[in-house]
Amino acid sequence: MTTFPAPVFAALGHQESWSQIAAIVHALRAPTHPPLTEAELREIVPWIPPRTVSRLTVAAAPGGRPVHGIYIDTFITPDELARRPTRRVLDKVRDGIKAAEREGARVATLGGFTSILLEAMVREPEGGMALTTGNSLTAALIVRGVERAAHLLGRNLEAETLLIIGATGDVG
């Protein structure tokens, strides 16, 4: 019987183009079946509810403790990406989070356009799972980088004036 470890984390995302979606579907479709046209994909893919597409194991360093995770595709389509966020798109992100909860993940990172749920300050779904967009980690790494640069140059940060370019953006 196949056993698979419960995932610690879930990464939520989506594909940027119909050609990427076609590549995934064609990889899953038996070679005996003719490939679907883009028109056919457009009929089917928007209806697929968010779900685990692959399972992955990562380690912070060679020989480090392996951490199990899942990639959940929300199946937000490129056409939906091109428009303003709609209730349907937000529902897909929420359903993706529910899929992560069903799998038992403790933390989910909202990648690409799915981060709109947190950035738009839309109320988070019920449940105890931690959500991150990756922006906090990016900001923390930038701060560390500045601290390290100052240290290497022998300058005291407390005596410096700092200019933040892009401070009004979500990472800033």
Partner: protein, 247 residues
């Protein structure tokens, strides 16, 4: 989907014809459901479960009668054909598993696959039909949803006992039954005539009542995948199955 037919008196002959063909599918599907549940009586040893599936068979018969009554009120004559090619194929698959005393396979076909198809189609029709017809489709759709919970629980238990075994079984059933259901709403038919439409295939006329083939198929697919999720089937597996469905 647009242009709902909210008043049966203002409906054109073309629109009545579309609803007649939809009712033909609904009545035939319910009678197939009735026969399927009736065939399950012999799969159970205990009277409680026997009575349960018999009750469901009666409910399905009741649904077909309500659809027939709705057809009479609409002034159309639906075609009832249990030998219609797609439905016959599904019925034959079901009976093969019933004859093998495979309760789980029967539950998957009837409660997961056929229920997904019926629930989504009935609610889509209810959204565009006139008040009287909408009420019939919506109430039958809600009842279809209600009686599936017990089966889902049974399938969850079966999955917990043998994940690989149940997922393999559902995959086999998917390739057989779900492929047939998908063909019913596919752009191209694998049979010459479905045996239920009065003239040309209704799929080309659905837009006259505010429906469209692709959305009906998408809604059924969505419902089916969500039901598999509730059972606990791995998302990557069910995704691979639907990727193989005919376009």
């Amino acid at each position: 989907m647009a242009d709902a037919c909210t008043d049966s008196w203002q409906m054109s002959a073309l629109q009545r014809g579309v609803f007649a063909d939809i009712l033909s599918q609904a009545i035939t599907g319910e009678l197939i459901g009735m026969a399927n549940y009736a065939a399950m009586v012999r799969l159970y040893r205990d009277p409680e479960n026997q009575q349960d599936v018999l009750t469901r068979a009666t409910t399905e018969l009741g649904h077909s009668e309500r659809f027939s009554q709705a057809a009479r009120e609409l002034g159309v004559n639906p075609i009832v054909n249990l030998e219609a090619p797609y439905w016959l194929r599904i019925r034959t698959s079901f009976l093969r598993h019933a004859d093998a005393n495979d309760v789980i396979a029967c539950l998957v076909i009837q409660e997961v696959m056929l229920e997904s198809f019926a629930f989504s189609m009935y609610h889509a029709v209810a959204d565009v039909a006139d008040d009287r017809l909408a009420t019939v489709f919506r109430s039958v759709g809600d009842e279809e949803e209600g009686h599936g919970d017990h089966a889902i629980e049974e399938l969850r238990i079966a999955l917990a006992a043998d994940r690989d075994g149940l997922e393999r079984k559902i995959e086999t059933l998917h390739d057989d039954v779900m492929t047939t259901l998908a063909e019913m709403l596919a752009a191209k038919d694998s049979v010459e005539h479905c045996g239920l439409c009065h003239g040309e295939c209704v799929k080309g006329s659905l837009q006259h009542v505010g429906l469209d083939r692709a959305s009906l198929r998408g809604l059924a697919l969505n419902r089916y995948l969500r039901t598999l999720d509730r059972i606990g089937v791995r998302g990557e597996r069910s995704l691979a199955w639907v990727a193989r469905l005919p376009a």
